[in-house]
Symmetry: C2
Subunit: 147 residues, 2 copies
């Protein structure tokens, strides 16, 4: 069966969010939350715009998704994010008990896998490397231009 | 010299915030951010009220302090919080590069020290155990009544 709404499909939506961040001069990270095959939240990094270190794409997406669902747990949801979540975001995803986290580029420097490997809920599935090249190159391009 | 505005003084202010959370049926954690000896932000846990796992006292306090200061870094600030920060909050405090974190009760189960020991900025000072007994007993009392 053809499955148009696969991980790559939703990661492209997260990537579109990352591009919006890029255009604002923000570190280009984007995220979407999917429930029952539908996107219920979209967000991109806004730390500079909001002067707020907590305004990562994932944090906003978690808040928005919970708000839409009317409950703070996201067990039946999947978060797609273009970069491996940081410690803060992984901690938030842990509290949310989200069903699955799919990320694009690995982040050796700031990613949770190195610094807080047990931050997520034990039942949360994790998959990294979806559209890895595109997600990584967008980040590299951003930091190259900043120098 | 008498120093009325010491760590216990500010922890009591954080404790007063925790009591507000308690009265709302929230896990009783409170926080204040201090800059130049003055409280610039106060917050208490609102995860139930807001249906939002990210609404920990520390997260709100970081956002409020940065908003007041007009910049996202809190290098010259001290955060007082009644409970050892979790992984999420420690990650956020790490991004903020906050000068010092003073917490009340240790949290063996959910505290960052066990799960993300390097989450804070390397220059951030940490002190735990200020008004530990009061802060711990408030938490214990809350969970005893919930059962």
């Amino acid at each position: 069966m053809i499955e148009p709404f696969n991980d790559e499909y939703f990661m492209k939506k997260a990537f579109a969010e990352a591009l919006q961040a890029y255009d604002k001069g923000e570190v280009p990270v984007g995220a979407v939350v999917v429930a029952n095959g539908k996107i219920i939240a979209r967000a991109h990094n806004l730390t500079e715009t909001l002067n707020d270190v907590t305004a990562h794409a994932e944090m906003q997406a978690i808040t928005a998704a919970a708000n839409l669902l009317g409950g703070k747990y996201l067990n039946d949801c999947v978060l797609y994010v273009t970069l491996e979540p940081c410690v803060m975001c992984a901690g938030a995803l842990g509290w949310s008990q989200i069903g699955k986290v799919v990320f694009g580029a690995h982040d050796e420097k700031r990613g949770f896998k190195k610094y807080a490997a047990q931050a997520l809920h034990p039942k949360t599935e994790v998959q990294g490397g979806v559209l890895e090249t595109e997600c990584r190159e967008l980040m590299q391009d951003f930091f190259r231009k900043k120098r």
